[in-house]
Every structure is written in structure tokens, then in C-alpha cells.
């Protein structure tokens, strides 16, 4: 499914790649940048966490429009700011569509890649970001002059709470949660491989969730396949030999059924049970009774020197 979404054979309007500290999502993100630059007329890269060059190796750079949110996201470098440059800042609410409209080249088949949503979510509530993403997808060529075919966004799952993740997951048509990953040194360079869980919603309403294994070549092409669950052998129930302690004895330790029933009916001393009190002994406390339940560690003294204990 991941490979189909990447290649465009499976339609998906919003793809979110969730990674964490232990499983870096940048290689998968890089593959999306590279593939979208091949099959789309224009790719808009909003980069806030990494320099743009990190994701452009092997991509057709002429199709990529870079929106810089990396060099000065909080406007701390006022003296170096170029007013003509289209830069992303976190001081004002995110307006992805506004940045797309300001680009001189207007095409119909546009892809938007966002690295990543985390800086926006750190500064604004989740619904503001969701609304900005929705505006992107609702843009029409006739009214806005631009139409977005796919949005790919990165999301660091370990930096946000569950409610934010749930809101984004509800909006995304494909959610890729990376679970394991490592480098794959090969002769031509270094690739990557890993496991992920893909949650994909089709327009028909069908929801597909599957675990997949992906491999990224040094040329940034990604292949994936469904992960086969390992067949676990049926657990063999071991028949433990039950040792009968009452066997092979010179005396009898077994009880008959009647003896077992009599044993269960034996009233144990000093235990709480319902019985009639002696008529010549008034109740010590007419308002309530004390029932003594000894613990294992109680050192119960059976002697009653004052003869005032009523058992």
C-alpha cells in the first residue's frame, strides 16, 4: 500500500508520515519528495526542520518550489530579512494556500510536502493546522488558480499528545506509522529498510490497515510489501506427571466421599460461625458483636485468665 500511494496508483489526498526519535522518517519523506517531483507538475516544499537540500537529492529541482521556514521561523533575524522572499514564519497563523497563490507559476497538478507539522503544532492548536490543510485540499483551479492533488506531511508522534494525533489521523487519508528502521549498506551506497503500519482510507469508504516492510534504495526509490505474520507453532501442552502422594504407602491416607463430606462440615473452633448463645450468658455488646478472624502471624493465646472472653 505504501508503494502504491507513493507511486500514485492508490489515490490519497493527505499522507501523514508519523515517526519518532528511534525511527527516523526522513528517508521515507525523501522518497515522497523525489517521486512527487517525477509525477506532478509542481511540488511545493515547506521545510521548517531541515534544510531544503536534505530532501532534494535525486529530485527534479526545476519542479520544486521551496518555502523557507527553516532559517528564520520566529523572525529573530529582522535585519537580514528580505521582504521579497517568500518565507514561512510561525508568528502568524499558517496559510499554506496563501503561499501557493503567491508563487509565480500556477499549475493544476500540485503536490505539497511539509517538513513537518510539529513546528506549527507547537505554536498553534491542532484545529488551526487541520483547517489550513483543509483549505489546501479545497482549492480549485477556477476560483483559486491552483489545485492540490496530494499533501504529504511529517509528524513526530512522540512530541504531541494523543488528541492532536487523533485529529490528524482522522483527517488523513493515509497514515504511515514507522515502527522500525535501519540503514542498509549496499554496493551502490546506503539504503534504508524498515517496518511500518499503514492505515489507508479509500473514497469508497473502505479502510485498509496493514503492516508492511519497506526498502529504500540509494537512488531513493521505495518498494514495500505486506509483512507476513510469522506462523507460530501450536503450543504443545506438556502433560506433567502427577505424583500421587497417597500411593505406595503402608497406611491409608485416602478419604472416601462420605469422609470428605464430613470433613467439610466440621466446625472449626474460634472461627466465626452462626450458633446459638447460652441463655444464661448475656451478650457482651447488644448493639454489635465482635468476630475474630486470626491471621497467620497472630500469636493467639488460648488461655483466658479473666474468663471474660466469649467464644
Amino acid at each position: 500500500m505504501l508503494q502504491q500511494v507513493l507511486e500514485g496508483t492508490e489515490a490519497s489526498s493527505i499522507v501523514v508520515i508519523e515517526d519518532c526519535v528511534d525511527h527516523d522518517g526522513r528517508p521515507v519523506f525523501h522518497c515522497f519528495c523525489s517521486q512527487l517531483a517525477k509525477r506532478c507538475e509542481s511540488v511545493h516544499l515547506f521545510h521548517l526542520e531541515n534544510p531544503a537540500g536534505v530532501f532534494l537529492e535525486g529530485a527534479n529541482i526545476s519542479k520544486v518550489h521551496i518555502h523557507d521556514g527553516f532559517s528564520d521561523p520566529l523572525q529573530w533575524e529582522e535585519q537580514n530579512r528580505d521582504p521579497s522572499a517568500d518565507k514561512i514564519d510561525l508568528v502568524s497563523a499558517p496559510d499554506f494556500l496563501g503561499h501557493l497563490k503567491r508563487t509565480p507559476v500556477k499549475t493544476s497538478l500540485v503536490a505539497v510536502v511539509i517538513d513537518s507539522l510539529t513546528p506549527f503544532l507547537q505554536n498553534y492548536p491542532g484545529y488551526v493546522i487541520c483547517r489550513a490543510l483543509q483549505r489546501l485540499l479545497r482549492a480549485r483551479l477556477e476560483s483559486d488558480g491552483i489545485e492540490v492533488s496530494q499533501v504529504v506531511a511529517g509528524f513526530h508522534g512522540d512530541l504531541h499528545d494523543d488528541s492532536t494525533a487523533a485529529a490528524l489521523r482522522h483527517m488523513a487519508t493515509t497514515w504511515v506509522q514507522l515502527q522500525e528502521g535501519a540503514e542498509s549498506p549496499t554496493q551502490g551506497g546506503t539504503g534504508f529498510h524498515g517496518n511500518c503500519e499503514v492505515l489507508h482510507r479509500r473514497k469508497s469508504g473502505k479502510v485498509i490497515r496493514q503492516a508492511e516492510v519497506y526498502h529504500i534504495s540509494p537512488q531513493w526509490s521505495l518498494t514495500s510489501r505486506v509483512q507476513k505474520t510469522p506462523v507460530r507453532p501450536v503450543a504443545q501442552v506438556e502433560q506433567e506427571a502427577q505424583v500421587d502422594p497417597t500411593a505406595n504407602l503402608t497406611f491409608n491416607l485416602r478419604l472416601t466421599d462420605t469422609e470428605k463430606e464430613a470433613r467439610s462440615r466440621v466446625v472449626l473452633p474460634y472461627m466465626h460461625h452462626h450458633r446459638k448463645k447460652a441463655p444464661n450468658k448475656p451478650a457482651a455488646n447488644p448493639g454489635g458483636q465482635i468476630f475474630y478472624q486470626p491471621d497467620d502471624v497472630d500469636d493467639f493465646d488460648e488461655e483466658d485468665p479473666d474468663d471474660d472472653l466469649d467464644f
Partner: protein, 231 residues
Amino acid sequence: MEDSCVRGQFVLISDSLTDGSFLIHHFLSLYIKGGWKVCLLALAQSFGHYNAVGQKLGVPLTQAREKGQLRFIDGLKCSLQMYTCAPQEGQGENPLRALRDKKATLRPLYDLVKTQICSEEGVLEGPTLLLVDDLSVLVSLGVSAKDVSDFMHYCRVLMCPTQQGYCRVLMCPTQQSQGAIVSLVHKDADVEDEENSTLFRHMAYHGTVHLAVEGLSSGYSRDVHGQSNLY
């Protein structure tokens, strides 16, 4: 890790149940000996402490400071001044005024770092290392993990703007980045500090190399003090 000064790298040192500050002294002496300009943002110790250790490592920090090779920012003194001085006694110029003013950010601290290591045009003058010891102190004093992350983001843009580091093929030193960053974050496994854990995760995303220092799983040993993992 190779014992050489590498440009364009953001080295994150984390320690758990041990003290990883020995790596701060190691990198300080390594880069001073390598002829780099070093800016030490000291939040945990005084200059005397680093100088004493540096002398044992054969690096006289006092001379390096007088020559201008070492720029020392006394964050420890600044943080103390924020808590001991009255507001009208110059807290307005203190780079760590975010400690008292919750609306303030660490932008003044970034401006101070930039003036210490950059030329008037705002660019680095040769190979420069920014050494931060340590970031957990800021969180302990009440600065949010987000503000610390924003500060380190700007430091990263200043020191290594064209860093590339998630693929071994791309990890060769680039001529465009003149700087490097080494910072320490505490990550004690026996302390439940959500803000500090969030800070560590933020820094892990910023960093290109992660050196995790921890004690031995078998317990304390006289000869072997701990182990470190490189990610």
C-alpha cells in the same frame, strides 16, 4: 567517534545515571587544540571549573580566552543575577530574562551568542564550535522545552545551516557549514521529568549524532565508569 573536529555536526550528549560532562571537557580541549574558535555557553559550572580541568588536559583556557579563541558566556552568573537582583537593577539587559518573564524567549541569549562568535556581517569567522553545558539547567530553572528548542534551532541555523546527517552517504563534512554544536542534556532514567524528556526528544530531532552515556548495567565498578552508545 573519530577524534577529529568535524564541521556541520550537531552532537547531542545525553547521560543517564552518570555524569556526561567529561565529554564537554573532552570536546572543549579537542577543538581548542584543533585551532577552532570555541564559544562555551556555561550554565552548570563556572569558568574556574573548566579552566582547572582544562589545565589537567593540557589546554590553558585562560590563555585561550585572552587570545580570543575562547568566548565564555557565564550563564551561571546570569541566571543567579536574575534571581538575586531587583528588576530595576539591570535585569532588562540580562540574556536569561526569560527565567523571570514567562512571556520572554531565549532570543536575547541567541543574540549574545551571535555577537560573541560572528563578525559584524553576522557570519562565522572560520571554524567555530558552540558548546552548551547544559540544556537541562534551563528546563530546571523554568524555561519551557519549546523555548529551549527554538533557541537551539536558531543556533543550529547559525552554526551548521547546511547540515546533512541522516544518511551515511551524506555525512561527509561539507565546506559550506563552518560551525558545529555540542550540547549536553540529562536523561536520567530514575527521574520522571516530562519537560526534560520532551527537551531530549526535541534535541534528538535536531542532532546529527547522539552520544548516550550511561552507567554499567552490572553496577558500579572502580575501573570502568560506564559505557557510551553512538547513534
